[in-house]
C-alpha cells in the first residue's frame, strides 16, 4: 500500500506515535500486522499530517491573539473597526478548501485501494473463510477444508484471506484491529472483506457493533500460523467427529456462549448460502419476562 503524504512528516508522525504503539495492547491499530492495516494506518497518518499543518498554526494563533490583545496590554494596537477584509476572507476560505482538496485525494485513492471487497493479490491464492456472527459468538467455516470453528480463527500467515460474512440474527462488526479494516455482518446480507496476516502470531478480534447482552464476550483470537502448520491444524480438526449441518447449526445459533471453542470436522457445504438467503430463518432472540423485562438465552 503506498502512501500519499510526503515522507518526512509521515516519518515524524510515525515516530511520535511509536510511543503509543510500543506500549501496545496487542490490539493497537497503530501496530499493523498485515498489508491492509498498514494501508489503514498510512491513510490515517497522511490525513493527520495534512491537517496538523493547518491545525497547529491555528491553535498557536488562538493563544497568541487572546494573549496579545488582552485589554491590559498597552502595546497591542486597538482596531475596533477592523471588521472585514476581502483579502483575509479569501485566505480563510481558500486554506480550508486547499486542505480538503488534498484530503479528497487521500480519501478517493484510499477508499479504492483499501476497499474491503477488493482482493489482495492474484485470484485463487486466497483462503476463503465464511463468517457467521451468532448471539454471541463467531462461527468460522472453511469451505475448501470442510471444517468449522467457533471463536477461534486459524489462518496461514502470508496468505490473503477472503472473508464472506453474514449474521444469524442482529448486526455485528468483524474487527481484528492489528489486521485492519472492519466490516458489518448482517442477516440476509453477504459482505466481503480481504485481510492478510504477514507474520505468525495471535491477534485479538472483537465484534465492534453492539449486539445485545452477551456482546462484550464476542471476542475471538485470530491465530496466524506458518502454512505447513495450518495444513496440520485443518487435518486435525477434520479428524474430530462433529458435523455442522442445519440441525447442529440451529443449536449453535441459540443465545449464549456455551459453544465457545467448538470445532466441526465436517460441514454442510450449502450452510452459509442457506443462512445468507434466509433459507434458514433468522435465529431467535431473548424471551419476554414479567415486568416488561427480557431474558437472554
Amino acid at each position: 500500500m503506498s502512501v500519499i503524504a510526503p515522507r518526512v512528516p509521515r516519518a515524524a508522525l510515525a515516530l511520535a506515535l511509536a510511543g503509543l504503539a510500543s506500549g501496545c495492547s496487542g490490539a493497537s491499530v497503530l501496530d499493523p500486522a498485515g498489508p491492509v492495516a498498514e494501508g489503514n494506518r498510512a491513510n490515517l497518518l497522511s490525513a493527520l499530517a495534512i491537517m496538523l499543518a493547518i491545525v497547529v498554526p491555528t491553535l498557536i494563533a488562538i493563544i497568541a491573539f487572546a494573549w496579545w490583545f488582552r485589554a491590559g496590554n498597552p502595546r497591542a494596537k486597538h482596531r475596533p473597526e477592523f471588521v472585514f477584509s476581502g483579502r483575509i476572507e479569501l485566505v480563510v476560505w481558500s486554506i480550508p478548501l486547499l486542505v480538503i482538496l488534498f484530503l479528497s485525494g487521500v480519501i478517493w485513492i484510499g477508499s479504492h485501494r483499501l476497499a474491503p471487497e477488493a482482493p489482495l493479490g492474484p485470484a485463487g491464492r486466497a483462503l476463503e473463510v465464511q463468517v457467521v456472527s451468532l448471539d454471541w459468538k463467531w462461527l468460522f467455516i472453511y469451505p475448501d477444508e470442510g471444517i468449522a470453528t467457533v471463536d477461534r480463527l486459524v489462518v496461514p500467515a502470508g496468505r490473503p484471506i477472503r472473508f464472506r460474512l453474514t449474521s444469524a440474527s442482529v448486526m455485528n462488526a468483524f474487527f481484528v484491529p492489528r489486521l485492519g479494516s472492519m466490516i458489518y455482518a448482517m442477516n440476509g446480507m453477504e459482505t466481503h472483506l480481504h485481510l492478510q496476516a504477514d507474520r505468525p502470531g495471535r491477534y485479538y478480534g472483537q465484534s465492534a457493533q453492539f449486539s445485545g447482552d452477551g456482546f462484550a464476550d464476542m471476542h475471538f483470537t485470530l491465530q496466524a500460523v506458518p502454512p505447513p502448520e495450518f495444513a496440520r491444524w485443518t487435518a486435525e480438526i477434520r479428524g474430530t467427529g462433529r458435523t455442522l449441518d442445519r440441525t447442529s447449526y440451529r443449536a449453535l445459533a441459540q443465545q449464549g456462549h456455551a459453544a465457545r471453542g467448538l470445532a466441526f470436522g465436517r460441514v454442510d457445504p450449502g450452510l452459509f448460502g442457506a443462512i445468507v438467503t434466509q433459507a434458514i430463518p433468522p435465529a431467535a432472540g431473548p424471551k419476554p419476562a414479567p415486568g416488561g423485562q427480557q431474558v437472554s438465552g
Binding site: 491553535l59 480550508p96 480519501i107 474491503p116 440474527s169
Partner: protein, 660 residues
C-alpha cells in the same frame, strides 16, 4: 391480558439495588420539592407565572432548567459507565450486569442528546431570539408552551423507566433488527420510542416556531443581514429541525408499527431492511449534530464579539458559512457506516462531502480569530468557555475529518476514538456553548450576574477533566478498544481506563463548582445585581431592555433604520427609549397565559405510558382527553391581555428609575 396490560408489581426492580436506590432517591427528591412548594404556598405562583406561562423568556428558562437537570442525570450515567468499566479490567465483574450496563449507555446517549443538549439549545433560542429581533414574543406563544411541555413529557417517560420496567438496551439509536420485538421483547425500546417520539414532536413545534418568528416577526427595518449572528444560527438550526425531525418521526413510527402491529419495515424477515433503518436514522442524525452545534456557534459569535469589544469579523462570510453547513449537513449521513460495505465510490463520495463541511467550520474559526485581532479582550467566564471551545473544538474537528477518511474509519469506527471524537465536539461545542450562553444571558433573565470566581473554577476544572477523560479514550481507541463493552478482555487497556476515571473525578469537581456558582450567586444576588440591563457592554438588542425584561420585552418596539450596521442598533434603541415621555407609550396586547400546553403534555405522557405497557383503554382515554384539551383551547374567545399605556409607562419608569 389484564386491565393494566403488561404492567404488574414485578416491573419494580426490587432485586436490583442500583436502579431502585436511584429511582427511590429521585422520587424522594421530587416529593421533597413538591412538599416544599406546597408548604410555602408557592403553587398559585408557579401555576400562574411558570407552568401556564406563554412568555418566551419563562419558557426558555424552563427549557434550560430541564436541560440542566437532565445533564446531571446523564452525567451520573457516565460516571457509572466509566467506573464500572475500569473495575472490570483484569477479570473483575464490576457492579453492573450486562442488562443494566446496556440500559445505562443507552439512557446516557438518549438523555444527553434529546433531553439535555437539545432543550438547552432550544431554551437559549427561545429566550434570546425574540429579544435580539426586538419583538414581544415568538410567533406562536401557546405552541411554544406546548412544545416545551411535550419535551418535558418525553424526559419524564425516560426517567420513569428507571423505576418501572426497563429502558432500551440497544444504544441511543436503536438499530434494527436488535430493536425489533424479536430481539428486544421487553418494554425498554417502547419507552425509548414513545419518549423520543413525544419529545421529538415538541422539538419540531419549537423549530417551526423559531423559523416563523425569525422569518415573519423581526423588528421594523431589521433585514436578514442586520440580524445578530445568534439569530442566524438559530434560524439555520431551526430550519434543520423542520427538515430533519419529520424523518425521525417517520422512522420511529415505522419501528413502532414493526413492534406493535407486526409490520416488516426493518425486520430480518419478510423483506424488511435493517439497513434502511440505519440510513434513515442517520439521515436525521447527521443534521441533528448541526442542530446541536449551530446555536452554540451563534453563542460563541456573540460572546467573542462582545468581549473583544469589536463587531464580529466577516459577518457576511459567517452567514454564508452557516448556510453552507446547513445545506451540506444533509449530504453526509453515510459516513456513520462506511463499514456497511457500500463500495469504494459511495464511501469516497460521502467522505469527501463530509470533509467539505469542515471548510465552513474552518471559516468560522478564522473569523472568530480575526474578531479577537485588534480587540480589547476581557476574560469573564463566558469568554473563557468560548476560548476553551475554540482550542478543543479544532482537535475534535480534526479527529472528525480523520473519521471521514473511509480507509481510516475502517479501523476507528465504533472504537473509543470515535466515542472521544463525538464527545470532543458535543461537549466542547454544544455543552461549552450552552454554559457560555447560560452565563452570558443569566443576568438578562434574572437581573444579577453569576459569581465569577466559582464560574472560573468550574471552567478550569471541567476543561481539565474533559481533556483527561477524552484524551485517554482517544488513545484507547487507537489501542484497538471498541465501545459499549460491559467488560474488557485486554488488560493493557486498564491504565487508560483508570486515567479516564481520574478525569471523571475532576469533571465531577467541575460540575460541583458549576452548581455551587448558582447557589452562591443566588445568595449574593444583591451584591451581583445589574441595574443597567447591559452588564457586558453587549452589542445586540437584548441589552437595550431592562433585566429582567418586562413581559412585553420592549415598551416601545425598536426601529432599525437606514443603512446603519446591525451592531449600532442597540445604542440607537437605548437612546430612543430614553427620549420618550409617558405620553409616547401605547397599549400593548400580549397573549394570555394558557394551560393548554401543560394539559396536552400531561395526556401525552399518559398515552406514552399506556402504550409502553399496552394498557389500550388508558391510551384511548389519554388521546380523547388530549383532544378535549385542544377543543377547549379552540373554544376560548379571549386570548389576550392588554397592558394600558399608563401601565406600560409605569413599568418602564420603575425599571429605568432603578437603573438611574
Amino acid at each position: 391480558m389484564s386491565v393494566l396490560g403488561k404492567l404488574d408489581w414485578s416491573a419494580i426492580p426490587i432485586d436490583q439495588p442500583i436502579p431502585l436506590a436511584a429511582g427511590g432517591g429521585a422520587i424522594a427528591l421530587m416529593l421533597a420539592a413538591l412538599g416544599w412548594v406546597t408548604v410555602k404556598g408557592h403553587w398559585p405562583y408557579l401555576w400562574r407565572e411558570w407552568i401556564t406561562s406563554v412568555d418566551h423568556k419563562r419558557i426558555g428558562v424552563m427549557y434550560v432548567v430541564l436541560a440542566l437537570a437532565m445533564l446531571v442525570r446523564g452525567f451520573i450515567d457516565a460516571i457509572m459507565m466509566r467506573t464500572h468499566q475500569a473495575l472490570t479490567v483484569g477479570g473483575g465483574s464490576g457492579y453492573l450486569p450486562p442488562e443494566h450496563f446496556n440500559q445505562i449507555f443507552s439512557a446516557h446517549g438518549t438523555i444527553m442528546i434529546f433531553f439535555g443538549a437539545m432543550p438547552f439549545m432550544v431554551g437559549l433560542m427561545n429566550f434570546v431570539v425574540p429579544l435580539q429581533l426586538g419583538v414581544r414574543d415568538v410567533a406562536f406563544p401557546r405552541l411554544n408552551s406546548t412544545a416545551f411541555w411535550l419535551t418535558a413529557s418525553g424526559a419524564l417517560l425516560v426517567n420513569l423507566s428507571l423505576v418501572l420496567g426497563e429502558f432500551a438496551r440497544t444504544g441511543w439509536l436503536p438499530y434494527a433488527p436488535l430493536s425489533e420485538r424479536s430481539y428486544s421483547p421487553g418494554v425498554g425500546v417502547d419507552y425509548y420510542l414513545w419518549a423520543v417520539q413525544i419529545g421529538g414532536v415538541g422539538t419540531l413545534m419549537a423549530g417551526i416556531n423559531i423559523v416563523t418568528t425569525i422569518v415573519k416577526t423581526r423588528a421594523p427595518g431589521m433585514g436578514y443581514l442586520r440580524m445578530p449572528m445568534f439569530c442566524w444560527t438559530a434560524l439555520c438550526a431551526s430550519m434543520l429541525i423542520v427538515a430533519a425531525f419529520p424523518i425521525l418521526t417517520a422512522t420511529l413510527t415505522m419501528l413502532t408499527l414493526d413492534r406493535y402491529l407486526g409490520f416488516h419495515f426493518f425486520t430480518n424477515a419478510a423483506g424488511g431492511s435493517p439497513m434502511m433503518f440505519v440510513n434513515l436514522i442517520w439521515a436525521w442524525g447527521h443534521p441533528e449534530v448541526y442542530i446541536l452545534i449551530l446555536p452554540a456557534f451563534g453563542v460563541f459569535s456573540e460572546v467573542i464579539a462582545t468581549f473583544s469589544g469589536k463587531p464580529l469579523f466577516g459577518y457576511r462570510s459567517m452567514v454564508a458559512a452557516t448556510l453552507f453547513i446547513t445545506v451540506v449537513s444533509f449530504m453526509v449521513w453515510l459516513h456513520h457506516f462506511f463499514t456497511m460495505g457500500a463500495g469504494a465510490n459511495v464511501n469516497a463520495a460521502f467522505g469527501i462531502a463530509t470533509s467539505i463541511i469542515a471548510v465552513g467550520t474552518g471559516v468560522k474559526i478564522y473569523n472568530w480569530l480575526f474578531t479577537m485581532y485588534g480587540g480589547r479582550l476581557r476574560f469573564p467566564t463566558p469568554m473563557l468557555w468560548s476560548l476553551g471551545f475554540l482550542f478543543t473544538f479544532i482537535i475534535g474537528g480534526m479527529t472528525g475529518v480523520l473519521l471521514a477518511v473511509p480507509a481510516a474509519d475502517f479501523i476507528l469506527h465504533n472504537s473509543l476514538f470515535l466515542v472521544a471524537h463525538f464527545h470532543n465536539v458535543i461537549v466542547s461545542g454544544t455543552v461549552f456553548g450552552a454554559i457560555a450562553g447560560y452565563t452570558f444571558w443569566f443576568p438578562k433573565a434574572f437581573g444579577f450576574t453569576l459569581d465569577e470566581r466559582w464560574g472560573k473554577r468550574a471552567f478550569w476544572l471541567s476543561l481539565a477533566g474533559f481533556v483527561i477523560v477524552f484524551g485517554a479514550l482517544y488513545i484507547a481507541g487507537l489501542e484497538g478498544m471498541t465501545r459499549r463493552l460491559q467488560h474488557v478482555a485486554v488488560a493493557q487497556w486498564g491504565p487508560l481506563l483508570y486515567v479516564s476515571v481520574a478525569g471523571v473525578a475532576v469533571m465531577i469537581a467541575g460540575v460541583a463548582a458549576q452548581i455551587t456558582q448558582l447557589v452562591v450567586s443566588i445568595r449574593r444576588r444583591d451584591a451581583l445585581r445589574d441595574d443597567t440591563g447591559d452588564p457586558w457592554e453587549g452589542r445586540s438588542l437584548e441589552w437595550a431592555t431592562p433585566s429582567p425584561p418586562p413581559a412585553f420585552n420592549f415598551a416601545t418596539l425598536p426601529e432599525v433604520g437606514g443603512e446603519e450596521p446591525y451592531w449600532r442598533i442597540k445604542e440607537r434603541a437605548i437612546a430612543s427609549q430614553q427620549e420618550r415621555s409617558a405620553s409616547d407609550y401605547e397599549p400593548i396586547t400580549m397573549p394570555r397565559r394558557s394551560a393548554t400546553g401543560f394539559v396536552t403534555a400531561f395526556f401525552a405522557t399518559v398515552i406514552g405510558f399506556a402504550m409502553v405497557w399496552q394498557i389500550w383503554w388508558l391510551a384511548a382515554l389519554g388521546l380523547v382527553c388530549a383532544y378535549g384539551a385542544f377543543v377547549a383551547f379552540a373554544w376560548r374567545d379571549e386570548n389576550e391581555d392588554t397592558f394600558s399605556a399608563e401601565e406600560v409607562a409605569r413599568i418602564e419608569r420603575a425599571r429605568r428609575g432603578a437603573a438611574a
